[in-house]
C-alpha cells in the first residue's frame, strides 16, 4: 500500500496534504494497467523512479511541483 502522501503527490495535490479517504479508495480501484500508466507518467514528468519516492524525500520534489503548477496556470481557459 502506497503512502497517502505519495498518492496525493501523484495525483497533483500538495505533498503537505493528506488525500481524502475517497481518493485513496479511488486509487485502490484502479486496474494494474491504469496504475502502470500513472506511475509511468509520473516517472517521465519528474525524472525519478516512483519506487524511490517516500514520505521522507517527497519534499525534494516540491520545486518541480512549482514548475508544474505554473504549467497548470498556462492552461486556464481550456
Amino acid at each position: 500500500m502506497l503512502s497517502t502522501v505519495v498518492i496525493a503527490f501523484l495525483l497533483g495535490f500538495s505533498p503537505t496534504q493528506q488525500p481524502s479517504e475517497e481518493i485513496v479508495n479511488q486509487w485502490n480501484s484502479l486496474s494494474q494497467e491504469e496504475v502502470q500508466v500513472l506511475v509511468q507518467n509520473f516517472e517521465n514528468e519528474y525524472k525519478i523512479k516512483f519506487s524511490d519516492v517516500t514520505d521522507e524525500n517527497i519534499g525534494t520534489l516540491e520545486g518541480l511541483e512549482s514548475v508544474r503548477a505554473m504549467r497548470a496556470l498556462d492552461m486556464r481557459g481550456n
Partner: protein
C-alpha cells in the same frame, strides 16, 4: 514592484466544447471576442516589456480567433518571448485545416492540448489526430496535454488513450475538477471559504497579467475578469506599475485574503484543483482541499 513574467491573452469566450467546469463558461455561440485593435495594442505593449517572458493565448478556443491571435503573434515574434497556445482542437477538422491555421502564425513554441472526456463530448478524436500528424512534422513545436478529470480512474483511462493513440507530448497537466453538471453554477470560493480563511493568510507570488477580451488586465486567470468586484486595470502599464493601493499590494502585504474578499469582493468560479501560483498557496494552507470537499457535497 511586482515582477510579471507571464501574460495570458483570453481572446474570447467562444468554444465548441461546453465543459461544465469552464472558468469562463465558454459556449459555441458566445459573441465576446478581442478586437484587432486591442490585440494589436496590447501585444505591442507586452512585446516591449522585458520582464514578460511567456505569452499565452487561450479562450474559449483561441483558434476561433485567428485574426486577433495572428496579429498579436506578428507583434511578438521578434521578441525574446515564448509563445504558447492552449487548444481544444475544435477547429482542426482536417490536416489541411491544421496546416492552413498554423500557416497564419509566424511562430508557436508550445501547444497545450485539452484532451479529456469533457472535450471529447463535442470534439471528434480525429481532430486531435490531425494535430498530432501536424506536430510530427514540426518538431520545433512542443506539445503537452491537459487532462481534466472527475476521478483518478478517468485520468488514468485518458492517459491510456493518449498512449494508445501514439500522441506526441513532453508533459501532462493534471486538472482534477468538480463537475456539478451542465448549466449549474459552481460555488464561488469566497462564499465557500470565507469562514475558513485564517486571518493572517496571504497569497503567494503573483506573476501573471491576464488580458481579457475587452483589453482590461487582471492579476490572475482564475479571478475571472467577467465576474464582479475584481480590481481591473485600464492598461498594461498601469497594471505593471501598480504597486500602491492596487490588488497586488493588498494581496501581498496589507490585508488578509478574508479582508480582501470583504473589501473588494473578489469572486470567481474556482472549480479546478490544479494549483496555480495563487491557488498553490490555498493548497499549501489546506484551503483548496476545503473547496473540493465542500463543493463536492453541494
Amino acid at each position: 514592484m511586482i515582477s510579471i513574467s507571464h501574460a495570458n491573452f483570453v481572446l474570447g469566450f467562444r468554444c465548441k466544447s461546453k465543459c461544465s467546469h469552464c472558468f469562463v463558461d465558454a459556449t459555441p455561440d458566445h459573441q465576446i471576442g478581442m478586437s484587432l485593435a486591442i490585440a494589436d495594442s496590447l501585444s505591442k505593449q507586452i512585446g516591449a516589456e522585458d520582464e514578460i517572458l511567456t505569452v499565452h493565448f487561450s479562450g474559449g478556443e483561441p483558434f476561433a480567433y485567428m485574426d486577433a491571435m495572428a496579429l498579436a503573434i506578428d507583434n511578438l515574434v521578434s521578441r525574446e518571448k515564448s509563445i504558447i497556445i492552449s487548444t481544444g482542437c475544435s477547429e482542426f477538422t482536417s490536416l489541411a485545416a491544421v496546416e492552413q491555421l498554423f500557416s497564419q502564425l509566424k511562430r508557436v513554441d508550445r501547444l497545450w492540448v485539452s484532451f479529456d472526456s469533457f472535450h471529447l463530448e463535442n470534439v471528434p478524436i480525429e481532430n486531435f489526430r490531425y494535430l498530432n500528424d501536424y506536430v510530427k512534422n514540426h518538431a520545433s513545436i512542443k506539445v503537452g496535454y491537459s487532462i481534466c478529470y472527475r476521478s483518478i480512474k478517468e485520468y488514468a483511462s485518458t492517459l491510456l488513450e493518449i498512449q494508445r493513440e501514439g500522441f506526441i507530448y513532453d508533459s501532462i497537466i493534471k486538472q482534477p475538477v468538480v463537475d456539478f453538471g451542465r448549466g449549474k453554477r459552481l460555488v464561488p470560493y469566497p462564499q465557500t471559504l470565507s469562514n475558513n480563511i485564517p486571518d493572517d493568510f496571504k497569497c503567494s507570488e503573483v506573476s501573471l497579467a491576464n488580458i481579457w477580451p475587452d483589453g482590461t488586465v487582471t492579476n490572475c486567470g482564475i479571478f475571472a475578469g467577467r465576474n464582479p468586484g475584481i480590481k481591473r486595470f485600464d492598461t498594461l502599464r498601469s497594471f505593471l506599475d501598480g504597486n500602491s493601493g492596487d490588488v497586488f499590494s493588498v494581496i501581498r502585504s496589507k490585508y488578509s485574503l478574508k479582508e480582501i474578499n470583504q473589501k473588494f469582493g473578489i469572486c470567481t468560479t474556482v472549480n479546478t484543483l490544479a494549483p496555480c501560483t495563487v491557488c498553490k498557496s490555498f493548497l499549501e494552507n489546506g484551503m483548496l482541499k476545503t473547496i473540493y470537499e465542500e463543493t463536492a457535497e453541494t
